[in-house]
């Protein structure tokens, strides 16, 4: 049962201009739930764009993206495994799906500077209208799980690289998403911290979460946790396109 399915997806930037380029070309891919999938490839191969398309951050220029079992918060009457085509959904719906179904861990972590660790973790939950107390307790629980609860009231810009990434992971989990998306998560980490990161991903896999990672770090794509490696170059899948 696939949770994400891409059918002939193409993404063109600056369409119609002299600097037009295709970041993703005719990509078809099925992602199975509860497994770790790694998108591997050099810089500019289209990994990040593909993650953005899957994570409802951008719409494809052509092709279809189907999500299964993520539409429940939007359409409460829908079946648990109902299929949703997100390629043509309005921005409001895309945002709601992104908020409830996906947790993002960015390469630069993208935490809000000057804000406390706790508030950074709570931020994705603000637009949901969930009770502040409930969100706060959940955020504190996540910080405890990652061993950084003592930094809860510190500003994020005062943390070390490893601690910052843990805050970013905690933030990605605050709305309890089914899918975790990580873009070059180990790019700024040393070997020890990179292994720690993969261990954390292992625990989420054990919980049944679907994990999508874009990376060209062998520590990631050679990890035993990884179920599938999809290799990309020039916006196309060159290896691992079919379910292995």
């Amino acid at each position: 049962m696939t949770v994400i399915e891409l059918v002939n997806v193409t993404k063109t930037f600056n369409a119609g201009r002299t600097n037009q380029f295709k970041a993703v070309q005719e990509v078809s891919l099925s992602v199975t739930p509860g497994r770790v999938t790694v998108l591997k490839g050099p810089s500019g191969s289209g990994k990040t764009t593909l993650l953005a398309l899957i994570g409802c951050m951008a719409r494809p220029t052509s092709g279809r993206i189907l999500l299964r079992g993520v539409g429940k918060p939007l359409f409460p009457g829908a079946e648990d495994n109902a299929e949703l085509e997100i390629s043509s959904l309005p921005e409001r719906f895309l945002t709601a799906i992104r908020r409830s179904a996906f947790g993002f861990i960015f390469q630069q972590f993208n935490l809000v500077r000057g804000v406390t660790v706790l508030e950074n973790v709570m931020l994705p939950a603000y637009p949901t209208g969930e009770k502040r107390g409930t969100v706060r307790r959940r955020a504190q629980g996540l910080l405890e799980m990652f061993g950084i609860s003592r930094h809860a009231s510190s500003r994020v810009d005062l943390l070390s690289g490893g601690e910052t990434q843990r805050v970013a992971i905690a933030r990605a989990l605050i709305n309890d998403p089914r899918v975790l998306i990580a873009d070059e998560p180990t790019a700024h980490l040393d070997t020890g911290l990179s292994r720690d990161f993969m261990e954390i991903m292992g625990s989420f896999k054990a919980e049944g979460k679907t994990i999508l990672i874009a990376s060209h770090d062998p520590l990631v794509y050679d990890s035993t946790l990884v179920d599938r490696v999809v290799e990309m170059r020039d916006g196309r899948i060159i290896y691992g396109g079919d379910e292995s």
Partner: protein, 378 residues
């Protein structure tokens, strides 16, 4: 609890924490904004107070004032004229007035000394305007010393300090009996400073004035409409100055709002991208920015308006004094009576708070409508 309410609450809380986070920038913004509101509100309060003073002055002015002229120079008028003028058809009342200016060298101020025509103070007593009382630091029962016509000091007991019904009208007033007035100034008997007339039908004032001139060619009747014109020009001139100040303040506000509307720091832009990428809708980001703008503009409005109120009504519009208040020469200290027009306050609110709130939303809206995947590439 309602999810919508919680969502608003969380976003408002975050907008306040964002303002505190950038406190250096926001405090300087608040200071400039408050200054602009302060100038505009001061101008509005000042004009309102002046207009009220003018209305009070005009309300009390007689229908016709008759002066006597000798070769074109103002002279004292014989009281004997009263009877003949009272006999003119349409004249309902004629009263002689005894008044004159008194220069107090001790404090460098001018007073208007007047003989009370009804309910006068007891002989040797005076009623003082608020301005005189505060300048000379006198209260009920104290003694006011004036320099008499023969150079000797004349002593008067302060019977009462007049209430602050209207500072401008009554502030410089020293009111005494007609006898004390004549003694103080060595004012000749049978003469008055001028005569004041009441005319039953206001449309007949011109006819009555013409009859007076025919009867007494040495007199000059001054109509209420002429007084009105004089005050109008005085207040209009000041009003014109205020319009200049108001225009400058509004212009600076527009430049300020425009600058805000076109500028969004790289950090703010990035922050908007991050919020969008973690699941904030464009509407949530706009709400955040709206609240940030509202907190700043509302605080500036409240602080600026309160400061302007204090400036105009408690510190005598001291910043405008030299340019706008002719009375500054007459009164060492001058206080306008507080008067606030809710309509003008509402206009000020909509002129300052609303455009600013909108101005903060425009650049944020531009930044918030960009695809959030831009953040993944930054």
């Amino acid at each position: 609890m309602n999810r919508g309410f919680e969502r608003h609450r969380s976003i408002i809380d975050f907008s306040i924490s964002s303002l505190i986070r950038r406190k250096g920038k926001n405090l300087s913004l608040l200071a400039v904004y408050t200054l602009v509101v302060f100038v505009i509100a001061s101008t509005i309060f000042f004009v309102q107070a002046l207009k009220r003073e003018a209305a009070l002055l005009l309300g009390e002015s007689p229908d016709i004032v008759v002066q006597r002229l000798v070769a074109g120079r103002h002279d004292l008028i014989p009281i004997g004229y009263v009877e003949k003028i009272a006999a003119i058809r349409g004249v309902s009342d004629v009263k002689p007035r005894l008044w004159g200016y008194y220069y107090d060298a001790a404090v460098g101020a001018n007073y208007t000394v007047m003989a009370a025509d009804s309910d006068p103070p007891p002989a040797g007593g005076v009623r003082l305007g608020n301005g005189v009382a505060s300048t000379r630091r006198l209260s009920d029962g104290d003694v006011l010393t004036m320099r008499g016509a023969d150079g000797t000091p004349a002593l008067f007991t302060v019977e009462k300090v007049l209430p602050e019904a209207s500072e401008l009208v009554a502030a410089d007033l020293v009111m005494m009996t007609a006898e004390d007035f004549r003694t103080l100034f060595a004012f000749p008997d049978g003469r008055a400073t001028d005569l004041v007339l009441s005319v039953s039908n206001p449309r007949e004032t011109t006819t009555v004035a013409a009859k007076i001139v025919r009867l007494f060619p040495d007199t000059r009747p001054i109509l209420k409409s002429e007084i009105l014109r004089t005050y109008d020009s005085v207040f209009d001139w000041r009003g014109g100055m205020l319009v200049v100040i108001l225009s400058v303040a509004l212009l600076s506000f527009i430049i300020f709002a425009w600058d805000k509307a076109t500028g969004l720091s790289a950090e703010e832009r990035k922050e908007i991208g991050i919020l969008k990428s973690i699941g904030w809708e464009t509407a949530d980001v706009l709400m955040l920015k709206f609240w940030e703008g509202t907190v700043i503009s509302l605080s500036a409005f409240l602080v600026g308006t309160i400061l302007a109120y204090l400036h105009v009504f408690f510190f005598s519009a001291s910043l405008f004094e030299q340019a706008l208040k002719g009375w500054a020469v007459l009164y060492p200290r001058f206080r306008l009576i507080p008067v606030i027009d809710p309509y003008q306050l509402a206009v000020l609110f909509f002129l300052t708070v609303v455009p600013y709130a909108v101005a903060t939303i425009i650049p944020s809206w531009r930044a918030a409508t960009v695809d959030p995947d831009a953040v993944m590439r930054s």
